[in-house]
Symmetry: C2
Subunit: 129 residues, 2 copies
DNA sequence: TATTGACTTAGAGTAAACTTTAAGGTTTAC
DNA sequence: GTAAACCTTAAAGTTTACTCTAAGTCAATA
């Protein structure tokens, strides 16, 4: 069992964000101590891991919420969930390919400017002589 | 020479966004017809290409604006621009590596659910018999 | 027992990057 | 020559994902 503070440390999400996610339905209601404090289970941490994974690959909180709701509805929704993940996976791959291309352009520009800088500094050095 | 509409079509940016970028200083003031209409040059298109490249690799408009301003200041700022691009390149590579790891997790989850779906449908088929 | 940190709800505030609206002027195709 | 299409600026509005504040109560630790 983990306090909200523990979970914040482990996930890198602020306590505000953790409560916000729960309120928005990204995370099932977390169990409480008799006094009403949140007690996160290993399962909750696992769920948060998947949420972060989806979020960090560009899925919107809205879509993640949809996925989580489907999960809660049980095996009836397996097909839909598989479909959702498959589409997400494709879009991530596509985005990574795009990124790769953009990265090549950045690298090209960087080399171009590096070369220009070298020439410029050579020139300055010669002028100072 | 290209109208704002042409450029919108070529870049995928809306005419609103093109004007917004110019107003915000991401793009140097575009030349005009006698009537005041924007006339984009090939150079402008080139500049927009770099802007989109940086934006699509996660650079904020603020940072892009900084980069563009440095470019306008000439060779004095070459070192700074090289530094900026180098740092950006590193951050893109790091993000891509992270994405790769997250993608593996998504793939794993997808396979897990696919298998579960297969088992579930088998079960249903057997029940229907 | 005092202090620190947790809890609640509700709602306001923030930042980025657009996106739309308002009110009007310019071009061009028929 | 006129209507449709396209242009202008300035400013307000939208969306996403938080982030913070308020105001009051409860729990745990030194």
């Amino acid at each position: 069992m983990y306090s909200i503070q523990d979970v914040s440390g482990r996930t890198g999400l602020s306590t505000h964000t953790l409560r916000y996610y729960e309120k928005e339905g990204l995370l099932s209601p977390v169990s409480r101590t008799p006094g009403g404090f949140r007690q996160y289970t290993d399962e909750d941490l696992e769920a948060l891991g998947l949420i972060c994974c989806l979020k960090n690959t560009g899925m919107s909180l809205q879509e993640i919420t949809r996925f989580v709701r489907l999960t809660r509805q049980g095996d009836e929704t397996l097909r839909e969930r598989v479909e959702l993940l498959r589409e997400h996976r494709e879009s991530v791959i596509q985005r990574m390919n795009e990124m790769q291309k953009y990265l090549e352009k950045v690298t090209w520009k960087l080399n171009f400017f590096s070369e220009k800088l070298r020439a410029y500094e050579d020139l300055k050095a010669r002028q100072e002589q």
